[in-house]
C-alpha cells in the first residue's frame, strides 16, 4: 500500500494524529511480534507474552502525543526496548513474589538470568527486530523468484539443511543451490536495508 498522500510525516508524527489508524496498524504489525518474540525468549508463556505486547504498545499509544523525537537521545527502537525490558522485569518480579502455581518454579531462575548483564538481552531484541524486517522482506521479494530458487533458499538459509540434500529434492546441483541461496539473500539484504531506512525515520 502506498503512503497516504496527505502527509509524508514520520510514523511517530503520524501516530500522534489520532485519525491515522493506518500508521497505528503498521506500527503494531512491525513491533508487536518483536515484543512477543523477545518476551518469549525471556521465558514468558504464550498468553503472558501476548499480554505484554498489548501492554507495551498501549503505553506507546498513551504517550505518543508527549513523545518528541530527539536523535540525540537514541532511536525510537532503543526507547521501546527499554520500556519492554522494564515491563518484563516487573512482570517476572511480580511472578516471583506470587508464584501462580506450584509448577512455576522457573520464574526465579528466569528473573535471575534476566538480571544478569552477561545475558545479551539487547542483542536478542535486535535479532527479533531483524527477523521482523526479514520476514516482511521475504513476503515482498518472494514472487520475484522461480519456485525452485526460492525452495533452495528456504531449505538452506531458513531450515538449515545441507545443500546436497536440498539439491537432491529439487534436482539441482549443490553448486546451483548455493548460487540460488546467495541470489535470494542478496535481494533480501537490499530489501531489508530499504525497510530499515524507512523504519529509522520512526
Amino acid at each position: 500500500m502506498a503512503e497516504a498522500p496527505l502527509t509524508r510525516a514520520t510514523l511517530l508524527v503520524r501516530l500522534k494524529d489520532i485519525d491515522d489508524s493506518e500508521a497505528w496498524t503498521e506500527f503494531v504489525q512491525l513491533y508487536g511480534p518483536v515484543v512477543y518474540g523477545f518476551a518469549r525468549k525471556r521465558g514468558l508463556q504464550d498468553s503472558d507474552a501476548a499480554d505484554m505486547v498489548q501492554e507495551v504498545l498501549r503505553s506507546v499509544a498513551r504517550n505518543a502525543d508527549r513523545m518528541v523525537y530527539d536523535p540525540k537521545k537514541g532511536t525510537f527502537r532503543g526507547w521501546l526496548y527499554t520500556v519492554t525490558r522494564n515491563k518484563i522485569y516487573n512482570f517476572l518480579s511480580a511472578q516471583k513474589r506470587r508464584p501462580r502455581a506450584a509448577g512455576d518454579v522457573g520464574s526465579q531462575e528466569r528473573l535471575e538470568s534476566y538480571a544478569d548483564p552477561s545475558n545479551d538481552a539487547e542483542a536478542d531484541w535486535e535479532l527479533e527486530y531483524q527477523r521482523r524486517l526479514s520476514s516482511k522482506a521475504m513476503d515482498r521479494v518472494k514472487h520475484e523468484f522461480q519456485p525452485a530458487t526460492w525452495q533452495a533458499f528456504l531449505g538452506t538459509a531458513v531450515e538449515g539443511r545441507p545443500a546436497v540434500e536440498v539439491g537432491e529434492s529439487l534436482k539441482m546441483t549443490s553448486g546451483a543451490v548455493y548460487v540460488a541461496k546467495s541470489r535470494v539473500l542478496a535481494r533480501l539484504r537490499d530489501e531489508v536495508q530499504k525497510l530499515m531506512a524507512e523504519a529509522e525515520h520512526w
Binding site: 498522500p5 497505528w24 505486547v53 498513551r62 535479532l127 526479514s134 515482498r140 553448486g175 541470489r183 542478496a186
Partner: protein, 771 residues
C-alpha cells in the same frame, strides 16, 4: 547477535574464481543457473567459496543469516494469543488509545444496543445473532463478527452506526442500499444474506458472508505490489463482479483496495460495501457541507462533483490496478485538494516507468480505464471482463476444491478417487472425441458407443452405511443412510413412488440416489451456491431446486442437465410445487415471494413478505400459499385475486420462523422456528389451535402427510431429533434418531410411509414409518 568483525575467508584452493565473478553470479537476479557453469560447479565443491558467496550476499547486513535461520518455525504459532492481541490492539480506536476525543467523531462506540449474552465470551446478542467481536467501523456502520445459530455459520453483520440511528434519512438510505446489494448474487461480490431491523433498538442491519482472508489493502501493505498475472486475474474478477452489479443498476461509487476482499485459499476477489459510499457521502454532506474521505480512487467526474455513472467504478478500478502493479497510486498529492486536482486535470505517470515488465496491452487497458472522459473508457464492466477473459482462462490454475466436511471416514471418497473421477471424465471426453473423428473420416455409422456407462461410476460409489440399532431413548434408528459426501445436507426430496431420492448440499451439488438398491445415480453440479430447496412435481418425473446462487432449476429425473433455469436474482431460500404441477412458488433473501408459471417461465404473482423468506408451502389446490420468514411472521396469500396484501398474517412469533406446512386436507397450517414450539392454526380462519412442545431447540423443518385418514406431521431441528406428531391432538407419536448435531430438513415420502431427513452431518436417512 554476531558482533565480531567478519573476515572474508581466503580461498582454500588455487582455482577459486575472483570475487568479481562471484558477484556477477549473485547479481544476475533469477536468470537460469547453468549447472555446467564452471563457477557454479566450483562453488558446489569448494567450502571456502560457499562462505564467500554468503558473505558477499549478506554484506552490510551480516545479521541477516542469523535472523533468517528458523524464521518460519520460530514465529508464533497459528494458535498463539499474539494474533488476537495484535488484532485487538490494531483495532483499538484512535480515540480510546490516546484518551483524547477526535474532532469529527465525538462519539465512542457504545455497544449498548446489544442484548446480554449468557456466554461471557460473547459481546452480546443482536436479534437472533450472537455477536463475537467488533471487526471495524466505517463511515456509516459498525461491522461485527457474528454467529448465526439458526444456520450455524459465522457471518459479518453490519449495523447502522448507533449515533446515526436517530437520523431518519440515514436509516432509510442504509436499508435501501443494503436491499439493493442483497439483490445481486455473484461469486465476486460479498453475498448479503439478510436485511433486517433490530427489534429492540430499531437500528437497521444487514448480514453478509464473512470472508476469510484479507483485503487487497492489507495485502498491498504487506507485500508492496503484486505480480502481473495476479493483477490480471483480479482485474477480470472485479470486472465480472462489477458487471453483475451494474446489470442490476447498482453502482459501487467507492471502489478501493479496502473494499476488495481476497478470499482464502485461492484469493478469489469479492467486492463489498456496494452503494454505501453514496449513502454515507450524502449523509456527511447534509451534516457538514463538505465531502471528506480519501479521494485517491475517485473518478474525475466524482472529484468535480458532476453526476457519476457506472463508468466511475471503472476509473476507480483502473486506479487500483495501477497501484497494485506500480506499488503507488497514479495520483498523489500532499493534500486531498491536490489529489483532487491531479485526478481531474493531470495525466498519470506512464505505468511502465514503475513496472517495466507489464505488457503493453495491459498498460493500454489501464490507460483506457484511467481516461478522464467517461466516454473514452470501456462502455461497461462486461466489455472489460470480455477483453480480459481469454487471457485469464489461459493462465488460471484451477485450485482443487477440498470438501469442507468429511461426514464419514468409512464412506467418503478419498481425494484419490476424486482425482480418479476427474481422470475418468477426461477419458470419457477423449473417447467421445475419437468416434467423432472416426465418424468424420469413415462416414456415419461406425457405431462406437461413447456414452459413459453407469457401471464405470459404480466403482467410485460410496456404499450406504447400514445402521446399527441404538438405545431406545435416542429414538428409532434409520433403515439406511445415504452420504452426500460434500458437506451439510440442506434439502431433500423423494419421488412420489419413493424410488428416487435427491439431496441438496451446501456446496451447490445435488446428489441423486436410487432408494431400492441404494445406488448413487449421479451428481448434478450446475448450482454454485447452497441448494436450499428441493421438491418433486406430482408427475414424479421432474423436480425443482432452489439455490443461493439466485436461480431455480427444473430437472428431469433421468437427465444430467437442467431442463429450465429461472433467474430470481437474489439467493433463493425455498421452493414449493403446486399440486397441479403447473406453478411453483419461491421465497428469497430479500423477502420476495414469487409464484411462477412453469410453461411461460415467468412470475405470475409477486408478494413482499419482508426479511428473508425461509419456507413456503402450497395448499392442495394451488390457490393459497403460506410463507414464513425471518421477520417472525407467517403470511398467507390468496393467489385467486390480484391482491398484493396477505390474506392474513399469523401473529408475530418471538423469533424467525424456519418451517411452514399446509396439511393435505387443507385444514391446518403448521409453523415453527426459533422458539422451538410448533404452532398449529386453522387454515381458513387463521385461528391458533394448539402448540406442540417437545423439541429442545430451534425447529428447522416441517412436513405433513396423510396416512389413510390419519393426518401426521413430522418435525426436525437443532436438537438433531426427528419427531412425528398427531397435529389434531398435539401428541408426539414417534421419535427418530436424527442427525448430529442438527437435522436441517425432514420430508415424508410414499404417502407418509417413508420419512427422509438430511442434516449437518452430510447424510440423508430413511425410515419406514410404522403405523
Amino acid at each position: 547477535m554476531a558482533t565480531t568483525i567478519l573476515k572474508m575467508p581466503t580461498c582454500s584452493r588455487v582455482d577459486c574464481p575472483p570475487e568479481s565473478e562471484l558477484e556477477e553470479l549473485i547479481g544476475a537476479g533469477d536468470t537460469p543457473i547453468d549447472r555446467f557453469d564452471r563457477v557454479t560447479e566450483h562453488v558446489g565443491d569448494c567450502e571456502g567459496c560457499q562462505k564467500r558467496l554468503d558473505m558477499l550476499a549478506t554484506a552490510e547486513v551480516p545479521v541477516l543469516s542469523e535472523a533468517l535461520r528458523g524464521i518460519e518455525a520460530d514465529s508464533a504459532s497459528r494458535h498463539s494469543a499474539l494474533w488476537k492481541a495484535l488484532d485487538d490492539i490494531a483495532g483499538t480506536s484512535t480515540s480510546s488509545r490516546s484518551g483524547r476525543v477526535p474532532t469529527e467523531r465525538t462519539d465512542e462506540l457504545k455497544l449498548d444496543f446489544l442484548d446480554k449474552s449468557p456466554d461471557p465470551k460473547l459481546l452480546g446478542r443482536l436479534s437472533t445473532f450472537d455477536i463475537v467481536r467488533v471487526v471495524g467501523r466505517g463511515g456509516m456502520g459498525v461491522v461485527l463478527h457474528a454467529y448465526d445459530p439458526s444456520l450455524q455459520r459465522d457471518v459479518a453483520l453490519k449495523i447502522l452506526d448507533p449515533n446515526l440511528g436517530s437520523n431518519v434519512t440515514a436509516r432509510q438510505r442504509f436499508t435501501r442500499e443494503a436491499r439493493a446489494a442483497a439483490a445481486v448474487s455473484h461469486e465476486n461480490i460479498v453475498a448479503v444474506h439478510l436485511v433486517d431491523e433490530d427489534p429492540k433498538s430499531g437500528l437497521p442491519f444487514f448480514v453478509m458472508q464473512l470472508v476469510a482472508g484479507e483485503s487487497l489493502e492489507q495485502r498491498l501493505r504487506r507485500v508492496g505490489k503484486l505480480p502481473f498475472q495476479d493483477v490480471v486475474r483480479l482485474a477480470a474478477q472485479a470486472a465480472a463482479g462489477l458487471s453483475a452489479a451494474h446489470a442490476s443498476g447498482l453502482i459501487h461509487r467507492d471502489i478501493k483496495p479496502g473494499n476488495m476482499l481476497l478470499e482464502s485459499p485461492d484469493d478469489r476477489l469479492k467486492l463489498t460495501d456496494f452503494g454505501l459510499a453514496r449513502a454515507a457521502e450524502d449523509l456527511r454532506l447534509t451534516k457538514t457541507g463538505f465531502v471528506s474521505g480519501t479521494p485517491l480512487y475517485m473518478a474525475p467526474e466524482q472529484a468535480k462533483g458532476d453526476e457519476a455513472d457506472h463508468r466511475a467504478d471503472l476509473f476507480s478500478l483502473g486506479v487500483v490496478l495501477y497501484e497494485a502493479l506500480a506499488g503507488k497510486p497514479p495520483f498523489e498529492g500532499k493534500t486531498p485538494l491536490a489529489v483532487l486536482r491531479r485526478v481531474a486535470d493531470e495525466p498519470h505517470v506512464a505505468l511502465n516507468k514503475y513496472s517495466p515488465d507489464v505488457p503493453k496491452w495491459f498498460e493500454d487497458v489501464i490507460d483506457r480505464l484511467l481516461s478522464k472522459n467517461p466516454d473514452d473508457r470501456y462502455a461497461s464492466a462486461a466489455e472489460l471482463a470480455a477483453e480480459l477473459a481469454p487471457f485469464v482462462s489461459k493462465h488460471r490454475s484451477q485450485p482443487c476444491k477440498i470438501p469442507t466436511s468429511e461426514p464419514c471416514a468409512l464412506v467418503h471418497p478419498s481425494s484419490l478417487s476424486r482425482r480418479a473421477l476427474r481422470k475418468w471424465k477426461m477419458k470419457v471426453a477423449l473417447l467421445m472425441t475419437i468416434p467423432f473423428l472416426l465418424g468424420i473420416l469413415a462416414g456415419a455409422g461406425l457405431g462406437v458407443a461413447a456414452q459413459p456407462a453407469p457401471e464405470t461410476v459404480a466403482v467410485l460409489q460410496p456404499t450406504p452405511e447400514i445402521m446399527i440399532p441404538t438405545p431406545a431413548d435416542e429414538g428409532i434408528a434409520a433403515n439406511v443412510q445415504f452420504p452426500g459426501n460434500s458437506g451439510p445436507v440442506w434439502s431433500v426430496a423423494a419421488s412420489p413412488d419413493g424410488q428416487t431420492l435427491v439431496m441438496g448440499l451446501e456446496d451447490g451439488k445435488i446428489v441423486v440416489y436410487n432408494v431400492a438398491d441404494r445406488k448413487l445415480r449421479f451428481t448434478l453440479e450446475e448450482h454454485t451456491g447452497t441448494v436450499w430447496g428441493l421438491n418433486y412435481f406430482p408427475d414424479g418425473q421432474r423436480f425443482v431446486s432452489a439455490s443461493d446462487d439466485g436461480t431455480v432449476k427444473i430437472w428431469d429425473t433421468d437427465k444430467r442437465s437442467s431442463a429450465k433455469s429461472l433467474p430470481v436474482s437474489s439467493g433463493v431460500r425455498c421452493v414449493a410445487v403446486a399440486g397441479h404441477g403447473r406453478s411453483i412458488a419461491t421465497g428469497d433473501l430479500t423477502g420476495e415471494v414469487l409464484v411462477w408459471d412453469i410453461e411461460d417461465e415467468k412470475p405470475i404473482r409477486k408478494y413482499n413478505h419482508g426479511g428473508t423468506v425461509t419456507a413456503i408451502a402450497f395448499d392442495k389446490l394451488g390457490l393459497t400459499i403460506a410463507s414464513a420468514g425471518s421477520d417472525r411472521t407467517v403470511k398467507v396469500w390468496n393467489l385467486m385475486n390480484d391482491d398484493t396484501k396477505p390474506r392474513f398474517t399469523l401473529p408475530i412469533q418471538k423469533g424467525p420462523v424456519y418451517g411452514v406446512a399446509i396439511s393435505p386436507d387443507d385444514g391446518l397450517i403448521a409453523a415453527a422456528g426459533w422458539e422451538g414450539i410448533i404452532k398449529i392454526w386453522d387454515q381458513k380462519s387463521g385461528l391458533e389451535l394448539r402448540e406442540l412442545k417437545g423439541h429442545e431447540n430451534d425447529i428447522w423443518s416441517l412436513s405433513f402427510a396423510m396416512r389413510g385418514k390419519e393426518l401426521i406431521l413430522a418435525s426436525a431441528g437443532q436438537d438433531g431429533s426427528v419427531r412425528v406428531w398427531n397435529p389434531n391432538t398435539g401428541d408426539q407419536v414417534l421419535k427418530f434418531k436424527g442427525h448430529k448435531p442438527t437435522t436441517h430438513v425432514v420430508r415424508f415420502g410414499r404417502d407418509g410411509t417413508q420419512l427422509f431427513s438430511g442434516g449437518r452431518d452430510g447424510f440423508v436417512r430413511v425410515w419406514d414409518v410404522p403405523k
